[in-house]
């Protein structure tokens, strides 16, 4: 069943996401988005995903916010922090509400939160194999690391290449190169 801390965090992320949407001032929106990411990082830890929480705290709340900040520092004139809200575009809002209801319609078909392997198809044969055999196969206690590098290393190699390629792409887009 839902705990207080979980419920509070879920409420917090929804409210900060809404505030991000409603704030007109982009600097204010970025700061609230940083808070949103931090709330998400804590939520991951509460949901027993410390690896993801660590990443989200460093990436989402840290680096991502910084990247947004340096971007608007170069593109927007700062006139101080003003807290005004955007005018709601009702047709877009209705479209999004319809979208939310369409997604919600699929929710009852999903397994309940915290359901065990018998009710949750995500706990397939593969997952239990990883948990049972990761230590014997790799001598690594953290199954997430074992899966990341050993069982699905090819995948991770691709991911690392994507990160590398994105770095190269940014330098290409901002062509007057930094590496002078």
């Amino acid at each position: 069943m839902i705990t207080w801390i979980e419920g509070g965090l879920l409420l917090f992320v929804v409210l900060t996401a809404l505030m991000t949407a409603m704030l007109r001032d982009v600097l204010a929106a970025i700061i609230v988005f940083g808070g949103y990411s931090l709330g998400m990082a804590i939520l991951w830890v509460v949901l027993q995903a410390p690896d993801v929480g660590l990443t989200e705290a460093a990436v989402g709340a840290g680096v991502m916010t910084v990247l947004f900040l340096v971007t608007i520092a170069r593109t927007t004139r700062m006139t101080g922090l003003e807290v005004t809200t955007v005018d709601v575009n009702w047709s877009a809002a209705v479209l999004c509400v319809v979208f939310v209801f369409a997604v919600l319609a699929t929710v009852p078909a999903l397994p309940a939160v915290g359901a065990g392997p018998e009710a949750n198809p995500a706990f397939g044969e593969v997952s239990s194999y990883y948990i049972e055999n990761a230590y014997d196969d790799t001598h690594v206690e953290n199954v997430v690391t074992a899966v990341l590098v050993a069982y699905r290393g090819f995948d991770t190699f691709g991911e690392a290449t994507v990160v590398f390629a994105a770095g190269v792409a940014v330098l290409t887009v901002l062509r007057r190169e930094v590496f002078e």
């Binding site: 660590l54 840290g62 290393g153 990160v163 590398f164 940014v170 930094v178």
Partner: protein, 182 residues
């Protein structure tokens, strides 16, 4: 010129960063190397290490940090990470195994140490890329090398009025903006 203020040194931020940075760096390396037996790993550790550089930039000025940074090391770290990961993966093929089949290396606990090395490679890639992304976005479209000094100097004089002159670092990006808007 925009209404933005140029970068101003803050003694509070500078001394805090000076105090915290070594610990954050150590924590990042710890997270990278300890990913095998506790939550953590190359991705997380790499980002934390990169955030040390970002912190330094905020405390001491983005341009100053960029000048201090050895670009060859930065490029070396990024490319070296890809090479390390790829090398370990392909080395297994050379030894007669399959791509990334770490067990073929003739070392005790080869898989475990192979995983650690791959994590280090991932951390290097992530660190290098995040640091370059940060600087590219923060000061990417700079005027050619010759003009940079003049700009910084002019910014320094502006800042001199506010904080005694040793502070300015990043006004050149602004002057690029101003020029285009005019």
């Amino acid at each position: 010129m925009t209404s933005r203020r140029p970068y101003v040194e803050s003694p509070v931020i500078m001394s805090t960063v000076r105090l915290v940075a070594p610990f954050v760096l150590t924590f990042g390396i710890f997270v990278t190397l300890h990913g095998a037996s506790s939550p953590g790993g190359g991705f997380q550790g790499g980002v934390i290490v990169a955030s040390v550089i970002v912190m330094l930039s905020f405390a001491y000025g983005i341009d100053l940090t960029w000048e201090w940074l050895d670009k060859r090391v930065l490029v070396g770290i990024t490319a070296g990470g890809v090479a390390l990961f790829g090398g370990i993966a392909l080395g297994a093929v050379l030894l007669g195994g399959q791509f990334l089949e770490l067990a073929v290396y003739p070392v005790k606990d080869a898989v475990k140490y192979g995983i650690e090395l791959v994590e280090v490679g991932i951390a290097m890639i992530v660190t290098g890329v995040i640091v370059s992304l940060f600087f590219a976005l923060a000061r990417g479209a700079m005027p050619p090398a010759g003009e940079t000094d003049a700009d910084t100097e002019r910014g320094g004089n502006e800042a001199a009025a506010t904080d005694g002159g040793n502070g300015s670092a990043s006004p050149s990006a602004e002057s690029t903006d101003g020029g285009e808007n005019a």
